[in-house]
């Protein structure tokens, strides 16, 4: 390692401080807004720190009193969990057999490449027929309909991750088990799947976050509390006539909490997932 001059060391630490400030300042401000009294947020000059800390908006948004702002928020929170959760389970259920098949039989790999290439398609190119089909099936404004549509985003991604995961499990141990008389499905169930559990978990987390983050289809295909997800609810708050900016910020903090916690706790797994894409191409 090169020995650094004092000046270089100072510059590096200054740059690190700047980077930390750039990353943290907006997030910190979102949180400060959520705990500031409404009057503080419209004060001029802006005070930057609450005159007294006020967590009441969290209670407001998480209350389940009928017809309150909280009830609408909680309903959208539950819808987001349902839609992302159902789509994740279905995507994993599709991805395990398909990922294993491509991993062990490279000659069918082109079909997975084709599935992954659909990532290029802008959702607007699918939206009109999907809208008409969901309307025809009576699945507009339904968590099931939305979860079904989310599979177009989640399933290619999870299948690709599962395929890379199975690639890392030597097929020789499967063959050994089968020579010992175990059938294919027994082998997969008692041998391969347990070994693949870490990658199943990572894929599921990624898929859930993708579903949690989705906005475009949710905006188009939902219209009220029966199916409206958190992202649409927040966009409504931000674009509507809500006069308390702190309430919008609080909704943002609550929606950001699950993915941010997952991101911090699962850092290693997420980065290896991200960069395996970067390295393998």
């Amino acid at each position: 390692m090169e020995r650094r001059s004092r000046l270089a060391s100072i510059l590096i630490h200054a740059a690190a401080l700047l980077l930390a400030a750039v990353i943290l300042a907006p997030i910190f401000w979102l949180f400060v807004m959520s705990i500031s009294p409404a009057a503080d947020l419209v004060a001029k000059p802006l005070g930057w720190w609450p005159s007294h800390v006020d967590f009441s908006r969290y209670a407001v948004l998480l209350s389940t009193v009928p017809n309150s702002a909280g009830a609408a928020f909680v309903a959208s929170l539950i819808n987001s969990i349902l839609v992302a959760g159902m789509a994740t389970l279905a995507a994993i259920a599709l991805a395990i057999p398909a990922g294993w098949a491509v991993s062990r039989t490279p000659s069918v790999g082109w079909s997975l490449s084709l599935v992954i290439a659909t990532y290029m398609l802008p959702p607007v190119a699918l939206a009109v027929p999907l809208y008409m089909a969901l309307a025809w099936l009576g699945l507009l404004n339904s968590v099931f309909g939305l979860a079904l549509v989310y599979l177009s985003i989640l399933a290619p991604f999870t299948t690709w991750l599962m395929k890379s995961g199975f690639d890392g499990i030597p097929r020789e141990i499967e063959q050994a088990a089968m020579i010992d008389g175990a059938g294919l499905f027994t082998t997969l169930r008692i041998l391969t799947l347990p070994l693949a559990m870490p990658i199943v978990a990572t894929s599921a987390l990624f898929a859930f976050l993708l579903g949690w983050d989705e906005f475009f289809y949710a905006l188009l295909f939902t219209s009220d509390q029966r199916a409206r997800t958190l992202t649409v609810a927040i966009a409504d708050l931000a674009g509507g006539r809500v006069s308390d900016y702190g309430l919008i910020a609080t909704a943002g903090v609550l929606a950001a909490l699950p993915p941010v916690l997952v991101g911090l706790l699962m850092q290693r797994a997420l980065i290896s997932g991200l960069t395996s894409g970067g390295v393998k191409g």
């Binding site: 930057w48 959702p123 027929p129 177009s152 906005f215 992202t231 390295v279």
Partner: protein, 294 residues
């Protein structure tokens, strides 16, 4: 086991996935192609065949040309900035300093923030009457009176790009950092012993390791940027004076606000074509970059 049986078995195992993909991607795509040659409305009866009318009308319209320009501007500026800042951040995080592990962990925060939350957060920061940006710039004396950053055509797009960069440069940085950590230390020390300066070391020793992963990041970010919808919808809805109306926003308005499914479909297909051409072009570049790095 015969290879025919292996292949049949593989297809059987893939069948559920492929069936769902045909239902939610393949069929809608095909139907969009059909609709693009009709004057169908979003609700009501099927519409008549009108040949290439939609395409001609749309491609020659000023709306399309302005949206194409806005999209290209958004994509080129935001992706370039994300790549440059991302690589600089990765080079920094590859140095030794106090708190490096913490800073690396922080990098995941903007990336983890949902896109809609990010857009909402920046919308609040840019607020013309009470926003933090106006307050900060006035308090340090850079600004005399509050401005409407998202309300003026001159600043709205730049404000959007800034918000997009903040969320997405960490992805580039994470990918670049992983690539930097794969550079063998003895090669960099050897170059140092041979008297290579910092720029020569970056150009000839480090960059070959970065090229492949960075190309992939570039492809992913460019495709995303050309498809951009969420952040713009939440922050400006394409305004003011349509200055931030990108192609996806235009398709949305045409197909869903004005309910002209046919011409919306033709517009959506042109967007698809542009993204495909970009992705394939980049794909060839990636292959070349990967070849030269190996």
């Amino acid at each position: 086991m015969s290879s025919t049986w292996m292949t049949t078995r593989a297809w059987l195992l893939m069948l559920p996935l492929l069936a769902i993909m045909i239902a939610v991607i393949g069929w809608p795509m095909a139907d969009t192609v059909r609709l693009s040659f009709t004057d169908a409305k979003l609700v009501g009866l099927g519409g008549r065949f009108v040949g290439f009318d939609n395409y001609v009308k749309m491609l020659t319209s000023g709306n399309f040309q302005r949206a194409l320009y806005a999209t290209t501007w958004f994509a080129v500026v935001s992706v370039t900035a994300e790549m440059v800042i991302g690589v600089l951040a990765a080079l920094l995080l590859n140095q030794r300093f106090y708190g490096r592990a913490v800073l690396r962990a922080l990098l995941i925060l903007p990336w983890a923030l949902p896109t809609v939350v990010n857009a909402t957060l920046w919308r609040l920061i840019y607020n013309p009457e009470y926003g933090a940006l106006n307050a900060a710039l006035t308090q340090i004396g850079l600004l005399d009176s509050y401005r409407s950053w998202l309300g003026e055509p001159g600043t709205a797009m730049t404000a959007l790009i800034l918000a997009d960069c903040w969320k997405n440069f960490p992805l580039v940085a994470l990918i670049a950092l992983a690539a930097l950590q794969a550079v063998p230390r003895d090669i960099t020390s050897a170059a140092l012993v041979d008297g290579a300066g910092p720029f020569a070391r970056f150009r000839f020793v480090v960059l070959p390791y970065l090229a492949g992963p960075l190309m992939v990041a570039l492809v992913l970010r460019t495709i995303e940027a050309f498809k951009v919808f969420d952040i713009i919808w939440v922050m400006t809805r394409g305004g003011p004076a349509n200055s931030t109306r990108t192609l996806s926003i235009l398709v949305y308005q045409e197909a869903f606000s004005f309910q002209r499914a046919g011409s919306g479909a033709s517009l959506a297909l042109v967007v698809t074509l542009i993204v495909t051409v970009l992705a394939v072009g980049y794909g060839l570049l990636v292959r070349r970059a990967a070849g030269s790095a190996a």
